[in-house]
Amino acid sequence: MAEPRSTIWETMQERGHSRRDFLQFCAYAATLAGIAPAAHGKVAEAFEKKARPPVIWLHFQECTCCSESFIRAEHPVVADVLMDAISLDYTETLQAASGHAAEKCKADTMKAYAGKYILLVEGSVPTEADGVYCCIGGRTALDILKEAAAGAAAVIAWGNCASYGCVQNAKPNPTGATPISKLIGKPVINVPGCPPIADVMVGVVTHILVFGRPPELDAQGRPKEFYGRRVHDTCYRRPTYDAGMFVETWDDDAARKGYCLYHMGCRGPVTYNACAVTKWNERTSYPIQSGHGCIGCSENQFWDNGPFYQHLPSFPGFGIESTADKIGLAAGAAAAVGVAAHAISTNIRKRGLIHEHVAESVTENKSE
């Protein structure tokens, strides 16, 4: 047991970081936790002594595909993340203990590392009906979230569920499913996607550990590093888009040549994600590469932007397949009919006036 354990400081040293980087990292963690600058030294001490940053992973209204995605990570692989990079002290999906024993793991970490643990949240939180739509250990998701968020140094929202509410938040949102950023008074790093790409997930966690600060975020709280570009801007089918070469029906000649899927409803032009570059499953593919358009799974409210096989969503309140064009065309036709009717009516109602004008008109004869 005398063997020295590897601390964050040691790990950072191994990776070529200076003492200054380390202190900066500690200062960041401390600031997030709301600790006064004078006390930063204490946090540094804590990280120096404690081997791996403790992490609590909460599960609420979710399908667990974010967890599934996480374990598909390639660099680093998840075993290395769990054994060397972090200490995953609570996750219902993988942890050995159940029931009270599991709850104790969480309670112990929240107590021993108050203000110092990283909180990862998978799933949305139902706010209707006093929260009875999601209870764990007899407590509501909201209750559990608030308690855990209070002492967290950083909060990451996994997937579209925790970031935006995802499928259960689609109309009519029967349970009042709510994104976590709306429920806790702390900055949240949103990592949307349904699920997010595995290497993006570990990328966000390791960004904090390696660089000692959170990644730069966009206006929606997403790391720019992974969500700064539209799928469309990085899509390898883009040249066929610019050339106007489109798939028109499934498995047509154009589909077999891998042309652009814009006509099949591809949401790449309105979706910010790393799919086309980072790709999925160790760079094996991504939706468009396998012939299906992007459905916009990293975007807020993407479920209510259906049908997915239509370029623009149905117009709110006008039913399926009601595009703006169909409604506009109907209105345009109505206007044309109205105009024609008005012209006829003018010739009847204003007959007198028009005759008067014609009569008063100066003819060539008269002027002579």
Binding site: A101, Q168, W250, I320
Partner: protein, 557 residues
Amino acid sequence: MSNRIVIDPVTRIEGHLRIEAVIENGVVKDAFSAGTMVRGIEKILKGRDPRDAWAFTERVCGVCTTVHALASVRAVEDALGIQVPKNAELVRNLMFAAQYVQDHVVHFYHLHALDWVDVVSMLKANPVEAAKIAQSISPWRNNTAGHFAAVQNRVKKFVESGQLGIFANGYWGHKAYKLPPEVNLLAVSHYLDALEWQKDLVKIHAIFGGKNPHPNYLVGGVPCSFNLEEVNAINTERLNHVGSLIKQAIEFVEQVYVPDLLAVAGFYKDWAAIGGGLENYLAYGDLPTNGYGDPSKFMLPRGAILGRNLNEIHEVNGKNVEEIKEYISHSWYSYAGGDANGLHPWKGETEFNFTGPKPPYTQLNVEGKYSWLKTPRWKDHPMEVGPLSRMLVAYAKGVTDVKEVVGAVLKKLDVPITVLFSTLGRTAARGVETQVVAHWMKGIYDDLITNIKNNELRTHTRYRWDPATWPAEAQGVGMTEAPRGALAHWIKIKDQKIDNYQLVVPSTWNASPRDGKGQRSAYEASLIGTPVANPEQPVEILRTIHSFDPCIACAVH
């Protein structure tokens, strides 16, 4: 009731499951299984485009990802009379099989193993001895003393760090753990190998469906296209990739999963007499070879077994409104026609009606409604679904490959077939199935290659893609066998929109509360009689519950 213990959260499962168990004299006397999270996806589907439903329902679960998408496209195709091209059937079968093999392996190592394997005990193991044992059962490349020593060292350092992470507060040292340290070491080593390997096989989903979890499906076929003259389509390289993934899968299953399963099972034969529960088994069958409309040609057959009578297989018909019904006597819903009636899913209703205690609560009111799961019944019988049901139906129907592997396993463990009706049997059946299906993948793959060789490239029938060609009203059912058991989606389409959509999911069958007649469903029934040495550390209850591989996000949806 002071002796009713509560396990909530049940971990190493998918979803939010709560077990309340009445323990008397060290055995479970009665048990209550509750799902405590609901999302209302059936309500959300109303009024949407049926062609989008696969994506919504796929998000029911990310662990058994794809199976709901498959059930959904089948339901829509069934309603509209669409038949998919042969290649689409084969691609779907490959994705289906890949899901089985990956999901079953992850279940065994990462969700179930810690019920049988004591992680702390492995620190005492002799790596050389462990390698000897391992090599005697399998030629797996990592079964060397050097590798085992490295794993042991790594775990030792990990444990000594004082930060046990996911292993913290486990029931280590509990007397129910019976494996020698060497076998524990072997199992933990393979836990890590499996964690590494599981991310490979699902690349088949990425190749054909763009990503995993949650690959893309398509009503009328599959979204990918084949073209041997094009880099932008499924070409030789992509197909080769699939081929080698299948090869690796067979290797992993044969050299790691199945040998480990048999080795561990050998130490826990007493569990062949515990956790049997229900005596009825239901399987919808899957892996069509002549279209979804012809169940007689499914590789996994359809049928129901009552009273463990393997000599009589009952026919199952998802469209017969008298066969499958869902009850809500103990579920937090209400039916317009009264809560006592059962409804066939085409007429199904999803109306929330929470009557439980106000949170925070310590015990549920099990006399009344106590779960978000509905209670499905087949001809009013509670049925167990899952790998065990599938293997029993296949065995009884004489599916050769299944008979062979089941026979070999029973012989190896030197036990009669009746041991299958148990916790251990359920866990073993999953391994048997993985072995059979991994090999079938090779055959499906070969069929796909043959088709392409014959220039049969079609992956989508455009028939009835356009909603303008649909009838004003239509209804269909999409049945499949998810890894956890019989899954079906029922759809009603009206004016091109979803009028009603109901899912009855494997874990709904198994984990549901009792029905109005007091008949228990599979979890509750199987827990009766389970010994519990220490109610504070109910590892025995976890064993039986985990043998079903619970998925509660699925079960409630």
